[in-house]
């Protein structure tokens, strides 16, 4: 199956929820990445046929299905809330889509439900009511309900967001494997960049109702077409530094200057935004080519075995920018402590003043291996 959206828009009461969007989805995993209000849910509802696009067309295998109601489309949907029929047992919940289709024998239903339940590891809970399950088990039931139909289009709208951290990791890993074995178009929305990276496949980055970029997940991560894509696809947030390029040098505020590294060398002079991900900001220099930036520590937060440091760079003439560094290990800093942060110029993204990608860091063979 192939799902194509052609210039799809959606307006509700004069308010645009989706601006014109076109994309073609193939079987495999497709991640919709964007902050809240990006239009992920609106887009998935249009894909499913729950909502009709205001303009544009939805094509399945070349056939226009724009106005076709959802029950005739063979789709499955998983929500961030745990949606199960409250008065039906887990077994009956999973069986419900098959029963409503009225084309399966009882044996077939038994077989399929048990198989799917085993796959979701809720085989031992089939006689329970949803209310007697934990949140993770409830969502496993809801996902099993969606999987059992073997629909060619499976939509999951932030399915793990209401689960606690441990369960989320566990279920995410399982889901990745399950989706990989299916010949279905899986659309998975999330607000978390890390989740998109772990899921792989294709990622579409959305923001405020706009489709900013779509492509293989790693390609989008390493070559964000716009500054905003880089920002959406970075957690902790992407560091953005204003810079002026002049005669082979880049100037930051406070008279910090450095020669342009090879990947930026061809760029004409002018003002740019430099982007660098937090894990490429260090507190020590290792390579000898780093840019040294004096800054004052604002906040240091511990996140697992990492420390995320927020610091402000200020020069005397009012130029300032904020930097976030993600350091491995636990470090102690005090407020307004003076520090030196180091950026590797080879790891910088360059965006033009209007936000388009001008240069992205080269990917070394080492890194490619690391990602794979």
């Amino acid at each position: 199956m192939k799902l194509v959206l052609e210039a799809v828009t959606r307006e509700v009461n004069g308010e645009s929820h989706l601006y014109s969007m076109s994309m073609a989805l193939e079987p495999g995993l497709n991640v919709l990445l964007g902050p809240t209000q990006a239009g992920k849910t609106s887009l998935m509802r249009v894909m499913a046929g729950l909502d009709r696009p205001t303009t544009g067309q939805v094509l399945v295998d070349g056939q226009d299905v724009t106005g076709r109601p959802v029950q005739q489309r063979n789709v499955a949907f998983v929500y961030q809330q745990f949606i199960n029929y409250p008065s039906l047992t887990v077994f009956e919940n999973i069986a419900s889509p098959l029963r409503l289709q009225k084309k399966f024998s009882n044996d077939e239903i038994q077989r399929r439900v048990r198989e799917t339940a085993e796959m979701m590891r809720i085989g031992h809970l089939l006689d329970r009511l949803p209310a007697a399950l934990s949140g993770g088990q409830q969502q496993r039931t809801a996902i099993a309900r969606a999987l059992v139909k073997q629909a060619p289009l499976l939509l999951l709208d932030e399915p793990l967001v209401n689960l606690d951290y441990k369960l989320r990791e566990e279920l995410r890993a399982e889901l990745g494997q399950i989706f990989a074995r299916r010949n279905a178009i899986v659309v998975y929305s999330t607000t978390e960049p890390l989740e998109a990276l772990l899921m792989g496949g294709v990622t579409a980055v959305l923001d405020k109702g706009d489709l900013l970029q779509i492509g293989p997940t790693l390609a989008v991560y390493h070559q964000p077409a716009q500054r905003r894509v880089g920002e959406v696809f970075s957690d902790p947030p992407l560091n953005i530094l204003p810079a002026v390029f002049e005669g082979g040098l880049a100037l930051l505020s406070g008279d910090i200057r450095f020669p342009l590294p090879p990947h930026m060398a061809g760029l004409p002079g002018g003002t740019y935004w430099l982007g660098v991900r937090a894990h490429h900001v260090a507190m020590e220099a290792h390579l000898g080519r780093e840019i040294e930036i004096p800054a004052w520590i604002e906040l240091a937060e511990l996140s697992g075995s990492e420390t995320i440091v927020h610091a402000d760079h200020r020069d005397g003439s009012g130029g300032e920018f904020h930097l976030i560094a993600q350091l491995s290990g636990i470090h102690n800093f005090s407020y307004e402590q003076q520090a030196r942060l180091y950026l590797d110029p080879h790891r910088l993204f360059v965006f033009t003043a209007s936000g388009a990608l001008a240069a992205s860091p080269p990917r070394t063979a080492d890194q490619r291996k690391e990602r794979a």
């Binding site: 509802r45 499913a48 729950l50 959802v70 789709v75 929500y79 029929y85 039906l88 419900s96 409503l100």
Partner: protein, 288 residues
């Protein structure tokens, strides 16, 4: 660590203790006191032990009032619960239409109970009442709630439905609005029909509010007094003499305090037991 004892807390509870003592405990204890004595006059009383209780339990008029009241309560539940659910389902979900219909629906609940009785007393009259005139002269049916026991019963029942179905409807409406939209979407994706959506999503999700609605309506209708008192005064004959009307006839009409007190205590106990039965039955039904 040592617990600090702060006796000032007692001071804060004191007003509640006092008001509950005066409004509930004292009157109840007075009733208990009366129920074991025959009050002949001020200062004249005779200890009778459990005589009033035995009398009450064996009284055939009271048995009749009990069954009458039970039948009335079941009819009330049978009509008001489904009707309330239906009204709640039919109400618009949002917009000014929703606010307007909620206000209109809630109006009967805002009317004082004796006024409700007076409204229906006039409404049902064949000579000047809109309802009575309509049934008698336009539908051509003979209807007179002051003469016909059946008509009196129907009048009180319809009045109660008019007065209290809005409560059930409002409770169900709130329950329905609390169901997240994805439930309906999921059902649509499965291709479920309206009936399945009602049976598998809405009704199970309404269980909690329905439990409250059934309990409230049962208790209220089992204790109904003001409206039938105003409309029929318990008549004609004993056709609409419900338990509380019978009780007030004994205790206030005949000033038979001992008998009335014993009856009150039994009445109180009955309501407690029946509510408990309903409560556990509905909880069980949900768990199965």
């Amino acid at each position: 660590m040592q617990k600090t004892v702060n006796h000032r807390a007692w001071l804060l509870v004191l007003p509640v203790v006092l008001s509950v003592a005066f409004s509930a405990i004292l009157p109840l204890m007075t009733v208990v006191n009366y129920s074991v004595q025959d009050i002949l006059g001020p200062g004249q009383r005779v200890w009778v032990g459990n005589e009033w209780f035995i009398d009450t339990v064996r009284n055939p008029d009271l048995h009749a009032a009990f069954w009458r009241n039970l039948l009335f309560s079941f009819q009330v539940l049978l009509i008001q619960i489904p009707l309330g659910i239906a009204v709640a389902l039919a109400l618009p979900a949002k917009g000014w239409q929703a606010s307007l219909s909620l206000v209109l629906i809630a109006l009967p609940l805002l009317i004082p109970w004796n006024v409700v009785g007076t409204i229906w007393q006039i409404f049902g009259r064949a000579d000047i009442g809109l309802g009575g005139y309509f049934v008698n002269n336009i539908l051509g049916l003979s209807y007179n709630y002051t003469l016909e026991p059946r008509d009196a019963w129907i009048t009180v029942l319809v009045m109660d439905v008019w007065h209290w179905t809005p409560l059930v409807a409002l409770l169900c409406y709130a329950g329905l609005r609390a169901i997240p939209d994805p439930f309906y979407q999921a059902a649509r994706i499965d291709g479920a029909r309206l009936w399945s959506i009602f049976w598998y999503i809405q009704l199970p999700k309404l269980r909690g509010v329905l439990l409250i609605a059934v309990l409230l309506r049962f208790m209220d209708s089992f204790m109904i007094y003001t409206e039938p008192f105003v409309v029929t005064g318990g008549g004609p004959g004993t056709a609409t003499t419900f338990l509380s009307i019978y009780l007030s006839n004994i205790a206030i009409g005949q000033f038979d305090l001992g008998n009335g007190s014993a009856f009150s205590l039994i009445y109180f106990l009955l309501i407690q037991i029946l509510c408990f039965v309903f409560y556990t039955a509905i909880l069980r039904a949900g768990r199965k």
